[in-house]
């Protein structure tokens, strides 16, 4: 039984109900499991590969939902190894990492950047790690989450944006930002330079760890945006040649405090 396409005739089913009905009907017949390589007998077996998968009628428990996946790239078991892996990844991604002892040193670093680059305006948001970094910055500043409503144009004219972050993932060299902790959605993507300030204890080993923590930190009210940033913006669209700074920030600078 199919509802008339594109219409909701009187007494006819809604698109939602039609689609869900089609889904239920479709799933009446079970599909075989995929041909898991790691479950097949070892080399030398004579079982034809097309047949092995379809004999399984077991439920979904063949591979446990295992958060610690040893087959993905290593993220490091100790803070030292995680930091080392992170540093290697960031370098490969052409993101910059800068270690400082404290926020005051971080502020000095930002100041030197603003001077040498001759920045006219720097954007930021309200956060204990971020606000101190603006101390002494010679140019104008724009706070995105201030008393006034957010002004897209004002942000567009900023040379750099400074944000905090939710976590840093060693395994992939990713920085997790969110609309709750990093000044909304635009601050970490619109300005040409994105500066992230974080503490060492924000480093986690794997993507799975970061997702797990985000889910529980959200506790039913996730921020409207969570984004894993892995290096500066890039494209390979032109003859497959890598260019940085396609639309998002051309430079990504991580300041690690501690």
């Amino acid at each position: 039984m199919k509802a008339a396409v594109g219409t909701l005739a009187a007494g006819g089913m809604s698109a939602r109900d039609t689609i869900l009905l089609r889904v239920r009907e479709a799933l009446r017949l079970p599909a075989p499991m995929p041909h898991f390589k790691s479950l097949l007998p070892s080399v030398g077996s004579d079982i034809p590969s097309t047949h092995a998968g379809s004999t399984s009628s077991a439920g979904l428990a063949i591979l446990p939902l295992d958060v610690a996946r040893p087959w993905l790239p290593d993220g490091g078991d100790t803070p030292e190894s995680q930091l080392a892996i992170l540093a290697t990844n960031l370098e490969k991604l052409r993101a910059q990492m800068h270690r400082v002892a404290d926020l005051s040193a971080a502020a000095d670093f930002v100041l030197s950047l603003a001077r040498t680059r001759d920045w006219k305006r720097v954007a930021y948001h309200g956060h204990a790690l971020v606000e101190p970094l603006l101390a002494g910055v010679p140019c104008a500043t724009y706070r995105v989450d201030g008393a006034d409503a957010f002004d897209k144009s004002a942000l567009e004219h900023c040379d750099a944006g400074i944000t905090a972050c939710d976590a840093i993932v060693a395994q992939t060299g990713s920085i997790l930002v969110s609309s709750a902790t990093s000044g909304g959605r635009s601050l970490s993507i619109l300005p040409h330079v994105h500066i992230v300030v974080a503490t060492l204890d924000q480093i986690v080993s794997t993507l799975g760890d970061a997702l797990h923590a985000a889910k529980h930190r959200g506790a039913g009210r996730m921020p409207s945006m969570l984004s894993f940033i892995t290096g500066p913006s890039r494209t390979g669209d032109i003859e497959r040649i890598l260019v940085l700074g396609a639309h998002g920030p051309k430079e990504l600078i991580l300041i690690l405090v501690g």
Binding site: L60, V144, R185, K215, A246, H247
Partner: protein, 473 residues
Amino acid sequence: MIASDAQSPQLAKKKFLRDATVHVQDTGHRTFVQKALGGYFVSRDAQKARYRDWEQARDAASLAKWSAVNRLDELLPLFVANFEANGGQVHWARDAEEARRIILDLVREAKAKAIIKSKCMTSEEIHLNAALEKDGYGVIESDLGEFIQQLRGEPPYHFVFPCMHVRREEISDLFGKFLGTPPTSSPEELTMIARRHMRQLYVDADVGITGANFLVAETGQISITENEGNARLTAALPRVHISLSGIEKVVEHLDDLAVLLPILATAGAGQQMTCYNTLYAGPRRDGECDGPEEMHLVLLDNSRTAILADPEQRDSLHCIRCGACLNVCPIFKNVGGFTYGTTYQGPIGSVITPHLRGLSDWNHLSAASSLCGACSDVCPVRIDIHHHLLHNRRNAARTAPNRLEKFGHQIFVIVASRPWLFAAGGAIFRRTLGVLKRLPLPLLRDWMATRTLPAAPRKSFRQQWRQAGKDSL
């Protein structure tokens, strides 16, 4: 039922053969495209090597999609409930026409003056841009590759690398023509031209349209993967965010992304992670300083439930659109992306297009393969792609057989069932091969023009065996 794109059954096939023939003879183009892909293999292998067990990672990715698609009846409503609880609005579209209508209505209600769009293959599938333009709305493609294709008036060449066939000089000319910029042969400068051009458009746009890579049922979030940051801008600055997604994109757990996001990047582009992987839970929340006021998600069926209903090929819905199968396919590399004449090219495109658009019209795509299996070997979610091409061929032979072909195979069965007839037929063939080679057989003309045929031996193996007095039954 989906109307096929108004072509007679033979027309699409003839066009395919014509375009393929033209394309394979364009050595310059083939070489350029194959060179462009060369770098992908190097990076991909390097990234694969970083996995401690690549095959297990594929198993995990495959299981995540298998369990989600096979429980879509539970997980799709769960996703919707959670997404709506986050403040998102869901719209259901049974087919392309309904999806276009819904989006047009949303755009009208938003009183949109400027629409910006990030990469969304599903929107290509439903021909959204043409519909919006017909209604008087200009749509800017913000993804660099899609933007270039939009200016060229061409669809994407490859669903991950839309303009891989275009040389930098051509892009320079294109920008000169449409944006008035001076010529340059630097990819960096060309990218900066596009970047500068887009920035004001992002700020001015009031509606942003994106796709979605994954729909996370557990948390009611949509996940979008990209390298450029244009999707993030599209979903950050405009007042209204519309996302379009096929219903099959559901995954159950947020944690599934811990393997799916890296494997998508590795298989698709030889990266460890794509630059931006973003989860959207809904429109801006209270306390957030920016973000869209409204977020709409259009869920599209458009024959996906038909594929779902085929247990043999249901796994083609596991596809995460990484494009790896295209990258390794010798057919794709030699005929190019446009020859397919479909939204989704390459091996996965050849599998699903008959379902989306009709088997009788599109089964030639499944026939145009040597079944080498490189696609299935590379697929991160273990879709049995090349075997599905066989299944499509079987289905086509059942429902719309070529009478002459079927007759030929029936004759072959008769011959193969009678060893004496087989041996006799073989002997005749071998004797006459010399003559046959010189005949202008129209069906075999192209085949014979491109190769030298061997000389036939005087005696077959079975003759030699018998004459040697060897053991046989």
